[in-house]
């Protein structure tokens, strides 16, 4: 049962690299250091992946520690290192994600 309940939350992602999609359409990659019931997140060593339809993905180092407010979060993805290394970010062309419209 204990294992079961842990699975529902973000516990298993703590201290791993995650990719967060925020409600304003940004994509932030960082290490999850903590979270709470409201999905507020503590992200360490953040960088932003800026997508563009004209050029490749730009990685902008945000650095440091961020607290991202839960109501600004859409998706938290486990970043798979192998898959990520296969990506050639400079070749990817895509418009930035749209903002969430409630």
């Amino acid at each position: 049962m204990a294992a079961d309940l842990q699975e529902a939350g973000l516990a298993s992602l703590v201290d791993t690299t995650i990719s967060v999609i925020t409600n304003d359409g940004r994509n932030i990659v960082g290490i999850l250091r903590g979270y709470d019931q409201a999905t507020n997140l503590i992200l360490d060593e953040c960088h932003e992946r800026v997508y563009s339809s004209k050029s490749g993905v730009d990685q902008v180092v945000l650095g440091g520690l961020h607290v991202v407010r839960g109501d600004n979060i859409a998706v938290v993805g486990e970043l798979d290192d192998d898959l990520d290394q296969q990506l050639n970010l400079s070749q990817i062309r895509a418009a930035p994600l749209k903002a969430v419209q409630h």
Partner: protein, 92 residues
């Protein structure tokens, strides 16, 4: 708690979650919580050419508040049970 309970019965099934930013993600429903946050495994974004933003993500957590639709597997709804449960919920 009706929908929470209902979604729990779908754990292990393949669903497509459409978000309020138009992103649609297909994956195996791994878990759901009281806020209807869901976790999907082995995800695949619908129309990945247009949305390559999650190509290195295999498993993800989706906040319930940004979900627009959940597309369910055909035949996953037992209408009898749902009717029953809905009435019970309405009665309180």
């Amino acid at each position: 708690m009706l929908f929470y309970s209902y979604f729990k019965t779908l754990v292990g099934k393949e669903v497509t979650v459409e978000l309020k930013n138009d992103l649609a993600i297909t994956g195996t429903l791994h878990s759901v919580d009281q806020y209807l946050n869901v976790k999907l495994n082995n995800v695949k974004v619908v129309n990945e050419a247009k949305y390559p933003h999650m190509m290195s993500v295999r498993n993800c957590f989706i906040r319930g508040s940004v979900v627009r639709y959940v597309q369910l597997p055909p035949g996953s709804v037992d209408i009898e049970i749902l009717h029953d449960a809905t009435r019970r919920e309405a009665r309180g």
